[in-house]
Structure formats: C-alpha cells, structure tokens
Symmetry: C2
Subunit: 293 residues, 2 copies
C-alpha cells in the first residue's frame, strides 16, 4: 500500500508518503502559511502519486463528528486565516480516495497503538508537551471523540507550593498547559528549558504537574500505556521524575504490576520518535481505508 500523510501543525506542515507498516518513503515540510498556499503545496507534493488512502492529523480545534455539517473543518482556532476552514472538503476536491481526519495527537496515539510503543494494545494515551500540551486518547480500540475531542492539555492541576508563576494560558491561567508547557518554563526561569541543567529545579516542578495529570488520566481512563512526546520531553531526565511522581501520588491505590513494578515500561517515550506525527497521519489514512469508507 501507499498512503499519503499530512501532519498539520500550527507552525509547519509535514507531508509524506508511507506504507501500511508505517515506513516512510519520502517527506517534505513547509511553514503553515495561508490555507490557499498550504493546499497548493499539498496538491503539488502528492500530484501524480498513486495512493490508496490519505490521512490528516491536524492542530485544532476541529470537527470530527461525521454527522456534522462541518465535519472535517478546523473550527474556532485563533490562528489567522484558519478559522472555519474546510480542510477535508478541500482535499476531497483533489483526492478521490478514503481520507482519514483527526487531531494530530489522536493520530499520534493511533500510530503508537498500530506500530509503536502501544502496538497490539487496546488503549493508550499520547501526551505531547511542547509550546502547548496536547493529548490523544485511544480507548477500547477506538480514538475518542465524544462531544468534540479530548483537550486534556487544559485540565486543572494543584499548584506546587514553591511555584509562584501565575501561568500563561489565556483561558485558564494555571491549567496544565499554563504551568507545564515549554513557554511556562521559559517565563518562569527566563531561559528556554534546554538551556537549563538536568539538575535544575524546573524539572521537578515539571514532573509534579505532568505526573499529576497522568494520575488523573490513569484514574479516569486506565490506559494500558502512556506515551509522552514533544520538545519538552526530549529532556529525558523527566521520565524517572514523572514516574516517581505518579507512583507516590497513587500511593498503591491502583494494584497493577505495570504501575507497581514496571512503570518504566508504562510511562514511556514514543517509539516512532519525531515521526510520530507523520506516522499518525498515515495511521489515520490506513484506518479510513480499512473501514472501507
């Protein structure tokens, strides 16, 4: 099979072609300019390619309700020019094939369950921690949509007693994203995270907030794997700190060996690394193809 993938982020778009094993044959990236320019570049990249399916994993919020009149739209984004844009409709004009459409993070969760760290499992949650915090949720073999789609970057968190930073989320100030995304580290300490030493107190704070969010995730959803990706998670010293935070907060309540004994195999980095997003788009295309839509 040959599957086209489009990973649409707020700052750049990655287009690629891969197969049903998640292997990428070629890819390009370009900035997220106006929709006109972006769709033109997408059409150019895929022009003349023989494809079986296409998948799109995009920034949001988006409409993923197949019964909705605006299914396939990017909806209420603050990004200039991208509000109420019919992404799926534009692609359907050019590409006569199954086209999968979901959030970038739902795509990444599906890719990890299809080819990566959660392969063969019935559930996983994918967190990306970078300029924002995004969450993809795969439960009982399905990506979660519901009313809209998960937006767990914005869940409330208890404040660390030693943290006086007010938080930077324009909606909630000190929600998870407001205190734990990359900009929170930079605003709190005056330099970017990767300029801080591995022993800096920033990482303990970061683990406090992310660990707390994972505890809520475990208690609400009981996922079989939790995968943490994104730029901030390149700080590998965070993983043991987060696992310890989760264990100490749960305090033995969830009696399962993955948490009690094997937490280093439970809270893990993405197996697909920096290709998780593009693989997510491929996985969405593959899923749509298999569903016969």
């Amino acid at each position: 099979m040959r599957i086209g993938g489009i990973e649409a982020g707020g700052t750049k778009i990655i287009c690629g072609i891969g197969n049903e094993k998640g292997q990428i044959e070629k890819k390009i990236s370009f900035p997220t300019e106006s929709p006109e320019i972006v769709f033109e570049k997408i059409n150019q990249f895929f022009a003349g390619e023989q494809l079986d399916a296409l998948g799109v994993g995009t920034f949001g919020p988006i409409d993923v309700n197949r019964k909705s009149a605006t299914y396939g739209y990017i909806t209420s984004t603050p990004k200039p020019g991208w509000k109420n844009i019919d992404v799926l409709g534009e692609l359907k004009k050019q590409f006569n094939m199954p086209i999968g459409f979901d959030t970038d993070v739902n795509g990444a969760a599906l890719a990890e369950a299809t080819w990566g760290s959660a392969q063969g499992l019935n559930s996983c949650v994918y967190y990306t921690v970078g300029t924002g915090v995004g969450v993809g949720v795969f439960v009982e073999g399905s990506l979660v949509h519901g009313l809209l789609h998960p937006e767990a970057g914005h869940i409330p968190v208890k404040r660390h007693p030693a943290d006086s930073f007010e938080g930077f989320c324009p909606y909630h100030k000190d929600c998870l994203e407001g205190v734990a995304a990359g900009p929170a580290i930079e605003k709190r300490f005056g330099v970017k995270g990767h300029e801080l030493g591995k022993e800096h107190e920033a990482w303990q704070l970061e683990a406090y907030y992310l660990g707390q969010a994972l505890v809520s995730t475990i208690l609400l959803l009981s996922p079989e794997r939790i995968i943490l990706g994104g730029g901030v998670m390149h700080q590998e010293q965070l993983f043991p700190l987060i696992r310890e935070q989760v264990r100490s907060t749960l305090n033995g309540y969830v009696q399962h060996q993955m948490i009690l004994e094997q937490i280093d195999q439970y809270i893990i980095p993405p197996a697909l690394g920096d290709d998780a997003g593009l693989c997510g788009a491929l996985a969405l295309g593959l899923q749509e193809y298999k569903a016969g839509r």
Copy 2:
C-alpha cells in the same frame, strides 16, 4: 426476555429480574454478609426462574480482563471476607447462561446509555457521590476497562482556599473522594449533609470539587453526557452550582452548545433514579447476551 441482575454494593446486595427494556419485574435486597451467605441468597432468589442472561455490577476493585486468570474476581478490597473472591465462577456453577460482569458504576453508565439519560449516545460518564465517589465510563460505544477499570473517585483536585479539612481518603487524604464524598461533609461540619440547609456553604464547596472533576472529565474524555447519582446528589441544589463551576472553569474553551447553552441538559441526574444500579446489572446481562458469549 427475562434477565437477572445482581447489584453488589459494599453494604447491601440487590437482586432483581427485568426485561430488555430495563423494566423491573421484582427485586429483593439483603446485607452484604460473607460470600457464602450472599451466594446462597442469590441462588435462592433466582432458583427456578427462567432467565436468558444474568448481569453483575459490583463494588471493586474487580478483574474485568477476560484474558486474565482471575477474570470475574473481586480482588484487593479491604472488605473482610471478600478479598480474591471468584464471583463470576461461583455464579457460573449455578447458572448456565451468558453472565455479564463489571463494576457497579460501569453498569450504571451502560444502563443510562441503554435506557436512560444518555439513551442512544455513544458516550457518557456516570458519577456516584455517596459514602465514596465512583465513576463509570462509556466511550465510543464501549465500557472502559484498560489496565483495570476507572477509579476516578480518587483524582487529585485543587483545594478550595477556604477549606481547611485535611481530607479522609486513607490513600490520598484530599483526593476528590477525600474532600467531596458524604463523610467529608460530615467530618467537616459535624452533621450529615442532609441535615444542612440548602443555602449552607457546604454545597458551594462540594460544587467546587465536583465541578473541577467534571472539567477534567470533559477535557480528557469529551463525553456526550455526564450523569451524577448517589446519595449526596439527592441535594438537588448542587446541580446548578456544579454546572456554574464547570462553565466558569472552562471559561469558553470548549466551544460546544451542550456546554455553552444547554449545560442543564448536559450535567444531569440519572433517569433511572435509585434503580440505576440494578438496571446497570440488567444492562450488563443484556450486553453479554447480545455479544453471544
């Protein structure tokens, strides 16, 4: 159809017989004594009845993993005599029919999605707030299990600045259950909740904590309905307070009319009322029957 249902709570067991419409024909209840006595009474109640299926919604933690050697067991409960009890195995000795088995709260969520407040929807979350806080989760048409099953009564919550009560959860002190279950109200104010006036500050505190948990639930799972049952939720003045807490905390972030305009139809009491638990057991039996197991 005739379906048997067993709602097994920590203090009492309810057995009943109903049909595929969730209509209850007859029921009895008795205290949760030793497993020997309980199984004997269950056998007596159903003896000679013509049934198509049986469903069990039980207190936990339980093993709901069909591939596990202890599938159908109540596992690590502190309740004397009930640790590592093979509930499903005991029932299978007596009843040769499909037997559904899940948590009482997952059963209640399924019943509300089958016959109640979430009828026809693809997702709902059921909270029961009483001597503890239990949560059942139905997502994309399936009850959520994953690693174990949801235990969202214990998620971390931000403390209300005016609340000095330390919390009573033996594992986490001031998790949701520790500050918002019935005993927290009693320990904080010295009398049971139903003895406090409807204007008492207790209800504002209660709404602060429950509203916060619902915000996390909405952001992580995006359920199409949230149903709040249990003894504490008989205090109907809580519903508008909780809805307001959810709306003000989300602060317009989730752009969906169910939250922005129709939140009084979104966060609601169980349609099945005090029969939600028994109907849950019937729904679990019906689900097992339909799955042809």
